[in-house]
């Protein structure tokens, strides 16, 4: 699969694909929200007034990716999201209770269906093709990518694949209750040097125009990916994954690590990097977008930009091996959810 277009809205100003992490936002909190763009450029006033924040940035990210790829109508749309539009669903249910099951505003109901963002993109692009939204916790994006892989094998020329996630009161409270969130405010940019317990939660949306064929807009090739719900033998699984794709450890020029600043989560990366990828450039990204169920999509955005711009912004670099970026391995992880991706330069 080739990535032929990207669109990303995140806690960093990433909505303009011509600029790649030139301006970095620093936050001193345990939740970091998206930097919004001017959504009136994407939607008319009537549509805009019915959209919640996540629907705006999710749909806009999809439209940015399509525009970037020069595609008006994708063959299919496949989205992954952990919590989806849970915040709006809860608002609707709360209204329902507070009115004693009386008449409630229809807008939050219409907006809260799980496939709202995907279907908004379809409506705005006249896409009558396959349209699906996967919610598989920390493997939601990966599930959407599997879907896209099958669709491309079946003969579709392109599939718009993406994610969206928002910080809602429910997921924030859940992370607090389970002590998975950093208790004390900490700079996101100092996340990896603080030896912290817990994560900074984030949000965002990213879409990618995945295509069967390479063209002039191509960023890179997604050669392979794999999920592993396992905390044991990850090093072996990773090596098997590389071998299956005819790669040796030394062939990996750059490793994008999914460390999130929580020392219990990140320890494994230090071991793997030392044992397998000592000579590769080491990168990390979750200090920029925060941790959430589809944060991995920010890494894919960053990797695509690294190939296109032929430069690695210093904010991503943990260790620079000064190697040309031909093969990039992405290893994402949250607790026992691991996913591996291989990207190649085109």
């Amino acid at each position: 699969m080739y990535i032929n277009g990207i669109g990303c809205i995140s806690p960093q100003p990433t909505f303009n694909n011509q600029v790649f992490l030139e301006e970095i936002k620093e936050y001193n909190t345990n939740r970091i929200y998206c930097v919004d763009t001017d959504y009136s450029k994407f939607f008319d006033v009537t549509a805009l007034r019915r959209m919640s924040r996540i629907v705006k940035y999710g749909t806009a990210a999809g439209l940015i990716a399509l525009n970037d790829a020069g595609i008006k109508t994708p063959d299919a749309i496949s989205t992954g999201t952990g919590y989806g539009l849970l915040e709006l669903s809860q608002r609707f249910l709360r209204d329902f209770i507070s009115t004693n099951e009386g008449v409630v505003s229809p807008t939050s109901f219409i907006q809260s269906t799980h496939n709202t963002v995907s279907s908004n993109i379809a409506l705005l692009t006249a896409c009558h093709g396959h349209n699906n939204t996967f919610s598989q916790k920390w493997f939601s994006l990966e599930s959407a990518l599997y879907d896209a892989q099958f669709l491309l094998k079946e003969g579709k020329q392109n599939v718009l694949v993406g994610t969206y996630e928002e910080i809602g009161e429910f997921n924030y409270a859940s992370l607090m209750q389970t002590n998975d969130l950093q208790a004390e405010p900490c700079s996101n940019l100092a996340m990896f040097s603080q030896n912290n317990d817990g994560v900074i939660v984030g949000e965002g949306a990213a879409y990618f125009l995945m295509a069967h064929e390479q063209n002039t807009t191509t960023y890179c090739k997604l050669k392979a990916f794999k999920t592993a719900h396992n905390n044991e033998n990850i090093e072996i699984l990773l090596q098997e994954f590389l071998a299956k794709n005819n790669l040796r450890n030394a062939d990996v020029d750059v490793v994008m690590n999914g460390m999130n600043g929580d020392k219990s989560n990140d320890a494994v990366f230090n071991t793997i990097n030392k044992n397998l990828f000592e000579d590769a450039t080491q990168l990390a990204y979750k200090h920029l977008c925060g941790e959430h169920m589809t944060a991995v999509s920010f890494a894919i955005y960053a990797i695509a930009q690294i190939f296109k711009q032929q430069q690695i912004p210093s904010t991503l670099v943990l260790k620079n091996a000064e190697r040309e970026s031909n093969v990039i391995l992405l290893h994402n992880k949250y607790k026992s959810y691991h996913s591996f991706f291989i990207f190649e330069k085109c």
């Binding site: 006033v45 805009l48 007034r49 009386g102 008449v103 807008t107 219409i110």
Partner: protein
């Protein structure tokens, strides 16, 4: 009546999230639907919700809708007559 009309305009802007409009910019006798304010069928449902939540008035007969929601003035008259009743 004038006070109710002014309140109603503010409530319409809030309920329908008409961010591009100020309440005072809505004409009292301006049609709410079609070429007037340009509201649509989802907005009609929102106006039904507004009547019930803010004024405790249920629109019992749906065929009354087009007449009641013609303008801000017709809404205010309907509210006045039904609250009084």
């Amino acid at each position: 009546m004038e006070e109710l009309i002014a309140t109603l305009k503010t409530q319409i802007v809030e309920q329908l999230n008409l961010q591009h409009l100020k309440a005072e910019e809505i004409g009292t006798d301006q049609p709410l639907f079609g070429e007037g304010l340009g509201l649509d069928s989802i907005d009609a449902l929102e106006l039904i919700v507004l009547l019930q939540q803010k004024y405790g008035i249920k629109l019992a007969d749906p065929t009354e809708g087009p007449k009641v929601f013609q303008t801000v003035r017709s809404m205010a008259e309907y509210i006045s007559s039904h609250k009084a009743a």
